[in-house]
Symmetry: C2
Subunit: 242 residues, 2 copies
């Protein structure tokens, strides 16, 4: 009887099933890897579930892992030197977050859960090892960096200028793309909407109330809402024309 290698893979390791059945496997970072590679690494990947408002990592701390978002919405926050918080970006299903850790750099934002969030925690050393052999993985990594950059710039162009009502409509249009299986979207607290759009809590509240009265938004209990993408698009057309 032969001796098992130290890292003998156990087909019944709990993470093995989770990885092979992962619904976002194709679109996630490791989507370029084959079954063989995937089998070797799943023991190093931890799946975790966090509650709304739980921090994932904090700005400035040394990072040992990157994370793939399997479900939910994550926000990135910064604090200006005067102490006011600003939300600079959102991430959703399939996005890779905390990539700066791969460069031995401290995390550059506070990452916080908006909704309940399911994550895969991927140690940096794992990516380093795989990257040395797998050129495709490196390309995939760079692609994700570019997507994040693109997202940040689009956020700046769309959500940081213009009348408040227009900005809120654009924000809701984006949130609609993060809708969960039941078609519900995460509706930020009013103060959070303010932090995203550069408004005060009161102004955000007034605008949301207005949209609710117009029937564009249906507020549901538990920080969620139902909204009609087509009606939003129509409202955006009207407000753009102005």
């Amino acid at each position: 009887m032969s001796i098992h290698p130290l890292q003998w893979r156990d087909p019944h390791h709990p993470q093995a099933d989770a990885c092979s059945r992962c619904e976002i496997r194709q679109t996630a970072l490791f989507g370029v890897l084959g079954d063989a590679d995937l089998d070797r690494i799943h023991t190093h990947i931890a799946g975790l579930t966090l509650a709304p408002d739980e921090p994932i990592y904090s700005r400035g701390s040394a990072g040992l892992a990157v994370y793939t978002v399997r479900s939910g919405v994550v926000r990135f926050e910064r604090t200006t030197d005067q102490g006011d918080r600003r939300i600079v970006r959102l991430a959703g299903k399939g996005d890779l977050i905390g990539q700066e850790a791969l460069l031995q750099r401290p995390y550059s934002d506070e990452a916080v859960c908006c909704t309940e969030v399911q994550l895969c925690r991927i140690p940096c050393t794992l990516v380093d090892d795989l990257g040395r052999a797998q050129g495709a993985l490196l390309r995939e990594l760079m692609l994700r960096w570019q997507v994040a950059l693109d997202e940040a710039e689009a956020w700046l162009a769309e959500l940081a200028a213009g009348p408040a009502r227009l900005r809120l409509l654009r924000l809701l249009r984006r949130l609609a793309d993060h809708a969960d299986a039941a078609g519900q979207v995460w509706l930020p607290r009013r103060e959070e909407i303010g932090a995203m759009l550069g408004l005060t809590e009161e102004t955000a509240s007034r605008l949301v109330s207005a949209l609710r009265r117009e029937g564009l938004v249906t507020v549901l209990p538990g920080r969620s809402a139902r909204l009609d993408p087509q009606a939003l698009d129509a409202a955006l057309q009207v407000n753009n024309a102005d």
Copy 2:
């Protein structure tokens, strides 16, 4: 007499001197390469000089090259669907721009010269070839992506909210870091300041005039200015306290 290899390096190739004497060589993308590697590639790199307001590349066009900024300031612009222009980021000496071309993706912004700009044009194929052999180069690439992302988020956090005067002060503080050899900074046109800070041309003009009267800014002919970093910092302190 032996036959020269096809790619025999010519020590007197005009770009050879330019590369080996490049003052930003250590900090630029190819800073990780040794002399030997550098000698092999300089024939593929073109140095070019562009005038203010000349476009470098345009959003959506297929890119065949990335560029290293050797001197001057470059701005990245986007146009919202309503047609108003927004400047989302700046790049200066030592920065790599157009990295998305390496992923066979179209450029995601309009890149335009603010000042006279000196660039090194680096074909994508060159980076691809070197990257296969040089792991350090790939790391360097990813680092630059992260820096760009960080810059975009910082811009969003600092320049997109708060009183207009404070935003202008912060913008000028950043421009001061792009000062040229003579200690002069590029001063954007008023309309451009508006596009950066989400203001109108008139408001930008009023604020700049106010700072000029306060002696914080000295406007010079030719879209440039002289400003005192320490005085700016002091003014920022005052306005932050408020």
